[in-house]
């Protein structure tokens, strides 16, 4: 349970109906005015008492010894240093195994540093745990993911906006197919083998297909996956352009007859003729 929220919402807030500012009758008004007068009176008495205390203290205490005039430069004051020649006056009257101590003040810049870190800490806790919900990590993560999704969408729209399941075409240029090969090596060989000969996943080099063998069907299979058979959906890791490249590379392997090819699965599809034969 978040402690700060507890205090914030549970303990400090009053129910609106009980508010002293909800004045509904003349009696309420009188009570309020009386209250204010009492409060002002208390403050005044307090001030007077404090002033008397100061005077009394001055009267009772002996006259303080006048401090020697501080002749230090601004820099020395800021850094809290005395000149070395003044050191003799600062030596304290004790020593331990010959080690003496100086009665130097703590350097002012050091104290400022300390105070400012304390202020930082108070503000930090206030921002995240009093104003905020205190659920810092989860919020940060959700935000980071939202930004990433937005960026990905923009990017896809820019570079591959026109490519989708219906408009995808088979790439024949060497560069596109080569990019497809790189992606295939990185993501697909674990299941389909180094040469697409099939391992856990089916052989991709023969004419038999489980989910369709034209470029549109392959594009669909890669994008959406076949979760029930262990083929994951790649649309979060590969953009449509990349899927097009991989699909083109896979289809370029038709009839390549790699060593150790897995037995055919699915239906024979005539449309998936090897690129080389077209």
């Amino acid at each position: 349970m978040n402690l700060f929220i507890l205090i914030d919402s549970g303990l400090l807030s009053l129910k609106p109906a009980q508010s002293i500012w909800a004045i509904s009758s003349g009696q309420d008004l009188v009570m309020l005015i009386l209250g204010v007068i009492v409060l002002v009176g208390m403050v005044l008495i307090g001030l007077v008492a404090f002033y008397l205390l100061l005077i009394l203290k001055k009267a009772v205490e002996p006259e303080p010894v006048k401090k020697p005039v501080d002749t230090r430069s601004l820099w020395q004051r800021l850094s809290g240093l005395h000149s070395l020649s003044q050191e003799k006056e600062l030596v304290m009257e004790h020593a331990y195994d010959g080690i003496a101590e100086l009665d130097n003040p703590t350097p002012p810049w050091f104290m400022w540093l300390f105070y400012s870190t304390i202020v930082f800490s108070v503000i930090y806790l206030f921002i995240f745990h009093v104003i905020g919900s205190g659920d810092i990590m989860a919020q940060e993560y959700t935000q980071e993911m939202a930004i990433a999704d937005q960026q990905r969408e923009e990017y896809i729209r820019k570079v591959a906006g026109s490519i989708n399941e219906n408009t995808v075409t088979l790439l024949k240029d060497a560069k596109g197919v080569e990019s497809g090969k790189v992606l295939f090596t990185q993501y697909c060989v674990a299941c389909h083998g180094d040469n697409a000969e099939g391992k856990v996943g089916p052989n991709l080099t023969d004419a038999y297909w489980l989910h369709g063998g034209d470029v549109k069907a392959v594009f669909h299979t890669i994008t959406e996956g076949v979760p029930e058979k262990g083929m994951i959906s790649w649309k979060k890791q590969l953009n449509p352009l990349q899927v097009q490249q991989v699909a083109s590379y896979i289809l370029s392997l038709q009839g390549s007859n790699p060593a150790g090819a897995k037995e055919p699965q699915g239906e024979k599809i005539a449309g998936a003729v090897p690129v080389a034969l077209r």
């Binding site: 304290m92 003496a100 810092i136």
Partner: protein
């Protein structure tokens, strides 16, 4: 030598009596230098050993075969040996050396009991030897810097109490009215280390050399890093500040710059330090409020820790001409500067956005080594060079050699730290880098590892330089010892302390009261460190909403428990974390981020603190069993270029199942809900699961008997992080 021979101008242990009739009788006694010398030799020997092991494991990070091909010298097992040797053997003995030397002189009294001094010395060395034997054997509890098993933990407690009695006895017998600032630090060190060690060592024994931590998961992590962080604070920092307050003014023959500053930074330091532990657990499953406390208290720690550095450096004001000539002071200046550097970095690393990049990388390694090599190492060297000639009453064998040691050591630190900073930054950024397409630029963890190899090589060179320096010092000092003769009992004199005392002058200052009363000072320190500890630890234990439970998370099976213990034994946690942080880069790379409720049966937690290899929390089910088999047999067969050593003995060793039921019983006692049936049929279940796994492996063409260790380890790895997935179908 840089110490004036003239007597100090102000000598009076009891000023109020000066000029008031007869002075108290002067007493004659001896300082015990033999124990100091013994601790000094132990410091030198263990220092060289610890650094040697350091160089060995550093080279294993680019040449895995440097593990010498056997299980006893493999990174996972000897990395704890290195840290323990350096922290508790090298630095520990250095602390005792410095304390035994300075305490006697600051109290004007011999150590309380020669017998206790002897027990303390030999007991501590025996503990170190026990550690050096058990850690390579894989007997470990896996808590970082507290890896030793429970019998050794008890021995540590006893010896620490011996040290405490000896120290307080000396303080009680003192002939000096007030306690000097160095002694405040010694007292705080004693009491805090005792608290830390006892709370962190709550274990349920299974056998003489196996135990499970009572705490689990998030709680265990919080306790461990409360301990780990404060081991740095109260074993590596406060005792050394005490040493600095004694030896620095002695060496420079200068007064301490500011008494007020020493009061302020002493109390602020011990109060604030104890809160800052959670900064080791930023972006983990630790509740946000605890992380925030870790952040803000780390930031507030800058000034108090710098207070020590400022007081040290300003003490040298007016003695810089000496620094130029005196190598011992040069060592001290580098030490104090390294302290300032490390204590600036610490708070910076506690800022969450810095931590997000630097944590789990070499940046942290660089940070701790600036502290260890610079602050602890160099100050230890300075004290040794200063003290050995004094207790042997002979000049140092070679000042030139000492100069060489200084420069080669400084160079070593630079060669170590700079590449590690670069390496940490590089790796942190590579993990987080995405391509414009929105996928990880380096999806394969190994790519980032290979990028760091040149930096790791340079680090090993730096470490070797540093080791070489230490060996030079050992030679120099042993030569010095051979030339002189130990003054085992150094004569001293001081007036006895008179009971009646009326403070006058500066002794009326409020803090002077504490300095006259060691026990209230002890209790005061204890209260100050307990506040932060209780605020952080108690709510995590008491409030269940801090660890939301997940219904589908179940206890490990018998085989998985055995596999987990193998994982602990081999020190896998030293290279692999089990904590997927809530970052896009991590959830893309590893899977769903880790939830607190997933660790409720993890005794101990295995989140890790450094990723040399990838995170393993979601490894379960990611690869087939055969992949793990081949990966343990020869990592490069599955991941070309991998720097993981191979673990052939896991394929051959027979799994020890004689204690399976005992293990489950012990886990039951610490709160894992095993029923009695499961416990009594533990080995039947284990065999069944092992048989199943072994036949699965056989399907993949791997013939391994079901009773081998590898089977248990694979079972554990395949279980990791999978429980949470079971609830997905019903969740949707």
């Amino acid at each position: 030598m840089n110490v004036s021979q003239k007597p100090p101008t102000i000598i009076s242990s009891d000023r109020s009596l000066l000029g008031q009739g007869t002075a108290p009788a002067v007493q004659y006694f001896n300082y015990d230098n033999r124990t100091v010398r013994n601790f000094a030799i132990a410091t030198i020997v263990w220092g060289v050993v610890g650094m040697l092991v350091g160089v060995l494991i550093a080279s294993q990070l680019f040449t895995p075969s440097a593990n010498l091909g056997n299980q006893y010298t493999t990174f996972g097992r000897i990395r704890p040996l290195h840290t323990n040797a350096v922290i508790f053997a090298f630095v520990g003995n250095a602390i005792f050396m410095g304390v035994y030397y300075s305490l006697q002189r600051l109290c004007k009294a011999r150590m309380f009991s020669d017998l206790l001094s002897k027990i303390h010395f030999w007991g501590w060395q025996a503990i170190i030897v026990a550690a050096a034997i058990t850690l390579p054997l894989g007997l470990t509890t896996s808590h970082e810097y507290a890896e030793l098993e429970w019998p050794i933990d008890i021995a540590i407690t006893l010896i620490w109490v011996v040290f405490g009695i000896n120290m307080f006895g000396t303080i009680i017998n003192r002939r000096e009215r007030h306690l000097y600032v160095a002694i405040w630090f010694y007292i705080a060190t004693f009491v805090t280390v005792a608290v830390l060690h006892i709370v962190n060592s709550y274990e349920m024994p299974v056998s003489l050399f196996k135990s499970y931590y009572v705490y689990a998961g998030v709680q265990d992590a919080l306790v461990q890093w409360w301990y780990g962080h404060n081991a740095v604070a109260f074993f590596l920092t406060t005792p050394f500040l005490g040493l600095m307050y004694y030896f620095l003014p002695k060496m420079a023959n200068r007064p301490i710059y500011s008494y007020k500053l020493s009061i302020l930074h002493f109390w602020a330091l011990i109060f604030i330090y104890i809160w800052a532990g959670p900064h080791h657990l930023l972006y983990t499953s630790l509740p946000d409020w605890a992380q925030s406390l870790g952040v803000v208290f780390s930031i507030m720690l800058i000034a108090p820790s710098w207070g020590g550095m400022i007081n040290g450096l300003l003490t040298l004001r007016g003695a810089w001409d000496k620094v130029r000539e005196d190598t011992i002071l040069k060592f001290m200046v580098v030490a104090v500067t390294a302290y300032g550097m490390a204590t600036f970095e610490g708070p910076m690393l506690a800022l969450k956005n810095v931590n997000a990049i630097a944590h789990f990388t070499d940046w942290v390694v660089a940070h701790v080594h600036v502290g260890a090599l610079g602050w602890n190492g160099f100050m230890t060297f300075a004290v040794l060079y200063w003290l050995i000639p004094r207790v042997y009453r002979t000049p140092l064998y070679s000042r030139k050699l000492m100069g060489v040691h200084f420069w080669i050591g400084t160079l070593g630190i630079l060669f170590y730290a700079v590449p590690m900073y670069i390496s940490g930054f590089t790796q942190g950024m590579m993990w987080k880098e995405f391509t414009p397409e929105g996928v990880l630029k380096y999806p394969n963890f190994l790519e980032t590892t290979l990028q760091l190899i040149p930096m790791h090589k340079m680090r090993a060179v730096g470490g070797t330089f540093y080791l070489l320096g230490a060996i030079l010092m050992a030679f120099n000092l042993f030569k010095t010892m051979a030339a002189g003769k130990l003054v085992a009992n150094e004569p001293a004199e001081a007036p006895a302390l008179v009971k009646a005392y009326v403070p006058t002058g500066s002794d009326t200052y409020w803090h002077r009261w504490f300095e006259r009363k060691p026990i209230p000072l002890l209790i005061g320190s204890l209260i100050v460190i307990l506040i932060g500890s209780l605020v952080e630890l108690v709510p995590t234990f008491m409030v269940s909403s801090n660890v939301p439970t997940i219904a589908s998370v179940q206890p490990y099976t018998a085989l998985e428990v055995q596999g987990r213990d193998l994982y602990i034994k081999e020190g896998c946690v030293n290279c692999h974390s089990q904590m997927v942080r809530p970052f896009r880069s991590e959830t893309e790379r590893y899977g769903e981020y880790s939830k607190a409720g997933e660790f409720v049966y993890d005794h101990p937690f295995l989140w890790g603190s450094k990723r040399i290899g990838p995170d393993l929390h979601r490894i379960g089910g990611k690869y087939p069993n055969s992949w793990h088999y081949h990966h343990m047999r020869d990592p490069t067969s599955m991941s070309p270029g991998s720097i993981m050593p191979s673990y052939p003995w896991l394929l051959e060793n027979k799994l020890d199942i004689s204690n399976t039921s005992d293990k489950l019983k012990a886990l039951q006692k610490v709160g894992v809900p095993y029923d009695d049936m499961t416990i009594s049929y533990a080995n039947e279940d284990l065999r069944k699961q092992a048989q199943q796994l072994s036949s699965q492996l056989a399907n993949d063409g791997i013939n391994v008997k079901s009773d081998r260790e590898i089977v248990a380890l694979i079972a554990y790895l395949q279980r990791l992080g999978t429980d949470i997935k079971k609830m997905e179908p019903s969740g949707k």
